[in-house]
């Protein structure tokens, strides 16, 4: 034991110095008043590995690799469809060095969970990108086209189990929207909630549910490998690289993009807001972000500031109406 003491002591010294160093850096930040260019913290209102976490880390990478921001961090605040993160974020006060990732799923969660605060309580910065949902069946399913399924669905609305993500999420919303357009009572739909795309996929392959609803990317390879067949994709117009026809093309007037965007805390000044918009816009023009879009098959949908605010207001109202009809 005695021999190890110097090593231990050395380790102790290194750790202490390291901590002291961090503390000093932290302290210097708070005294000089940090600007978004020096330090930016992104809240991912989901657990590590989730969709918002991925988007946050891609954005972090774009900010960091191009030195748009000196020090970009991601903090995970998971829970309740992102509304825990939202609640904490709104309480931060007017801190211009904070951003939060958000998207369609949070709009649903705000209403379903009766959250005290909503996205309009934040300062909208920019919508970044969106991807799409698919209706999907196993390769051996009798449903060859969307019409095949809709006919069977109309005949027996409750008799066809549909698997998708959590209640009030985009999967559920798309199911409700489609039901309404196809003259099926949304309240009659037999929707089985699963913990994510992976579980929906096994439920499909094991024959538990007849139809799966999830992000196109979750199923991409299974579609390419011929294990699953996509019936319709929720984009408003055909997406390059995706062969599946849209709902609109098949006569069902439904489009539901799963968008992602960033918001800032409430109460920041107009100059601070404009600076954040500039930072994020700059990040979306980097090769890293371009690369992230193509790797994740996200579609660029940048919309900033007041336009983004107006979009949120409109989209939230639409989501609320669907949730009302689904009886949640």
């Amino acid at each position: 034991m005695r021999k190890k003491r110097p090593a231990l002591a050395a380790l102790g010294v290194v750790v202490t110095l390291g901590l002291a160093g961090f503390a000093a850096v932290d302290a210097s930040d708070s005294t000089t008043g940090a600007t978004p260019r020096s330090k930016l913290t992104l809240t991912a209102p989901a657990a590590a590995g989730g969709g918002w976490d991925l988007a946050s880390r891609e954005l972090q990478q774009a900010l960091r690799a191009n030195s748009i921001v000196n020090n970009a961090q991601v903090v995970n605040v998971p829970g309740a469809g992102g509304t825990i993160g939202l609640g904490q974020f709104v309480e931060l006060g007017a801190d211009p060095t904070r951003l939060m990732m958000t998207g369609t799923v949070m709009e649903g969660a705000i209403t379903v969970n009766a959250s005290r605060v909503d996205l309009l309580d934040t300062t909208p910065i920019a919508r970044l990108a969106e991807d799409y949902e698919v209706f999907i069946v196993p390769a051996d399913s009798p449903f060859e086209t969307l019409d095949d399924f809709l006919d069977a669905w109309r005949a027996d609305p409750h008799g066809h189990a549909i698997g998708g993500g959590g209640l009030g999420g985009t999967d559920h919303l798309l199911t409700g929207l489609t039901a309404r357009e196809a003259d099926v009572d949304p309240a009659e739909v037999n929707y089985i909630a699963f913990a994510g795309g992976g579980e929906v996929m096994t439920a499909l392959l094991s024959g538990t549910v007849e139809l799966g609803v999830s992000g196109y990317n979750d199923f991409r390879d299974q579609i390419d490998a011929g294990n699953l067949r996509a019936l319709a994709v929720s984009a408003d117009e055909p997406v390059p690289g995706i062969d599946t026809p849209t709902f609109v093309e098949q006569g069902i007037d439904v489009a539901l993009p799963n968008w992602r965007g960033v918001v800032a805390p409430p109460g920041i000044s107009d100059e601070e807001r404009d600076e954040l918009i500039a930072i994020v816009t700059e990040a979306t023009r980097t090769p890293e972000w371009e690369d992230a879009l193509s790797r994740n098959r996200w579609v660029d949908s940048v919309l900033t500031g007041d336009d983004f605010g107006a979009f949120i207001r409109e989209d939230q109202a639409r989501v609320d109406a669907i949730i009302e009809e689904l009886g949640l």
Partner: protein, 507 residues
């Protein structure tokens, strides 16, 4: 034998100095986060993700594999030594492992656990190499009915851990089921026992419950015993590392049984390694009770060997399910899935074609990582055991700090800190009044699984209860269960009759 030549290429990729360095770094890091209560390998990989962005994918994934298995080797260390398992996967192995440590056999318990983890990991990795696609098919055989049957089977099979008093065990199980009910019901959206607190909508995290009940509960219990005669209950380890031949002969079959229990569980999403580790524990305990002189309750080596092997076997095949099916069956697998996507790769049926170099290097790194971890862990077992020589007030103060730190790091919620303290007090009260703690965790793990699958099955069948037993797998599981319980009852009745006959003769 395409697999062998591919795997050979994989080994060539891994066995370069730089990649070996990543394996070792990952293994050390994984062990470190594994040891700390609350922090798990999922969190470690997530924190590493931005750092590894600049690495080439092969280096990054090799390191992640090291972290994953390092975490599984590490989480039992703190469990065995201080009864504070670093993660829920180590709970089952801790029950007997800590008793071994208490009786001065800490080093042997650690060695048993390390070798068990090694065997489980290696065997499941071999299976993944040769049968990854067919393993993936297994997952598609399971629907809600089968999961429910599995959960019921596990409930009964694990009832061995309920302990000496059936009633007390049942009471503890009910506490666990009650805790598990908190949160928004995923099937209907109804909120249950949340008091309107959004922080409770997702339920209470299993990590919070594990750390509170086991780590903090133990800390408070130790603190409460201070100054009493019982205080020096720990016997310092003898430092002897090697298992005696007798111990080895007991442990070897347990390692193999644990492995075979763990392997199938990696492929089916029932929440990770908890269920198979408990099943392995139950099986070992029941087998030991058939022979005279069972060490269970006093530190049985099989009680460490079985669950540890099962836990790592599950983790190994879970990686197979992730690679071949894109199915994340555990939290760490979910983070790894995100990591694959960050590199523009989608695990699934096409991954083996699209990124075969990476996949085979990753698989080869499992083997290398396992060997590295065994080499790191075996000699360190006696050293770790020395930790028990640290005065307990320092030791337990450290545990409390790291437990709280780990909890806050995963969720950033103040409420979780309050909850972990409250559950810690509950754990203390249960220890004080002789209620077993393990059934609470079983209730928390299996309760929601059984409930969700039961309701899913009925929702899909539109209320027709016959589906619950109509599938061959479910029917088989129930039959085995009925036969097992019947056999047990007959055995008991016979034993009682024999006892009575003996008494009659004596009279």
């Amino acid at each position: 034998m395409d697999q062998l030549s591919n795997l050979g290429d994989g080994f060539l990729t891994v066995l370069t100095p730089m990649n070996m360095l990543w394996v070792v770094v990952g293994a050390l890091l994984g062990t470190a986060v594994g040891v700390l209560p609350g922090l798990g390998s999922a969190m470690a990989v997530a924190l590493l993700l931005p750092v590894t962005f600049s690495l080439d994918p092969i280096g990054a994934f090799i390191m992640f594999a090291g972290v994953l298995f390092g975490g599984l080797f590490g989480d039992s260390i703190s469990g065995i030594l201080m009864n504070t398992p670093g993660n829920s996967t180590a709970i089952a192995g801790t029950i007997e492992g800590h008793r071994m440590a208490k009786s001065g056999r800490a080093a042997q318990a650690l060695a048993t656990s390390a070798i068990g983890a090694f065997i489980g990991g290696i065997v499941s990795s071999i299976l993944v190499v040769f049968f990854a696609p067919s393993l993936a098919d297994l997952a598609t055989l399971f629907g809600p009915e089968e999961y429910l049957a599995l959960a019921v089977f596990a409930f009964v099979a694990i009832s061995a851990v309920v302990g000496e008093s059936f009633l007390r065990g049942l009471a503890a199980l009910v506490i666990g089921l009650a805790i598990a009910l908190v949160g928004i019901d995923a099937m209907s959206g109804a909120s249950r026992f949340t008091g309107g607190q959004p922080e409770l909508f997702d339920g209470i995290d299993i990590v919070v419950i594990t750390v509170g009940l086991l780590a903090l509960g133990e800390v408070i219990a130790v603190a409460a015993r201070r100054g009493t005669e019982k205080e020096n209950a720990l016997i310092p380890s003898s430092g002897r590392l090697w298992l005696t031949r007798r111990e080895f002969r007991l442990a070897l079959p347990a390692w193999l049984r644990g492995t075979s229990i763990g392997v199938p569980f990696g492929v089916i999403p029932v929440g990770g390694s908890e269920v198979p580790t408990f099943l392995a524990y139950g099986a070992e305990r029941r087998l030991a009770s058939r022979k005279p002189g069972s060490m269970f309750g006093k530190g049985a080596i099989q009680g460490v060997a079985g669950p540890e092997a099962a836990g790592n076997a599950t983790a190994g095949t879970a990686m197979g399910a992730l690679l071949a099916l894109g199915l994340p069956t555990s939290a760490t697998a979910a983070v790894l899935l995100a990591a694959f996507r960050q590199y523009g790769l989608q695990p699934g049926p096409l991954l083996f074609d699209r990124a075969s170099e990476l996949v085979w290097a990753l698989l080869a790194s499992f083997f290398v990582g396992m060997v590295v971890l065994l080499i790191l862990n075996l000699p360190f077992a006696p050293l770790w055991a020395q930790l028990l020589k640290v005065p307990s007030h320092y030791l337990y103060a450290g545990i409390s700090v790291f437990a709280m730190l780990g909890i806050y790091a995963t969720s950033s919620k103040i409420l979780d800190l309050v909850l972990v303290l409250a559950i810690g007090l509950l754990g203390f009260a249960m220890r004080r009044y002789g209620l077993p703690v393990a059934p609470v965790l079983i209730g928390v793990i299996l309760g929601p699984l059984a409930e969700t699958e039961f309701r899913r099955a009925l929702a899909v069948s539109e209320g027709d209860a016959s589906v619950l037993v109509s599938s061959p797998i479910a029917a088989t599981l129930y039959s085995v269960l009925v036969l097992g319980v019947a056999g047990l009852l007959i055995q008991r009745a016979r034993a009682r009759r024999r006892e009575r006959a003996r008494l009659d003769v004596a009279a």
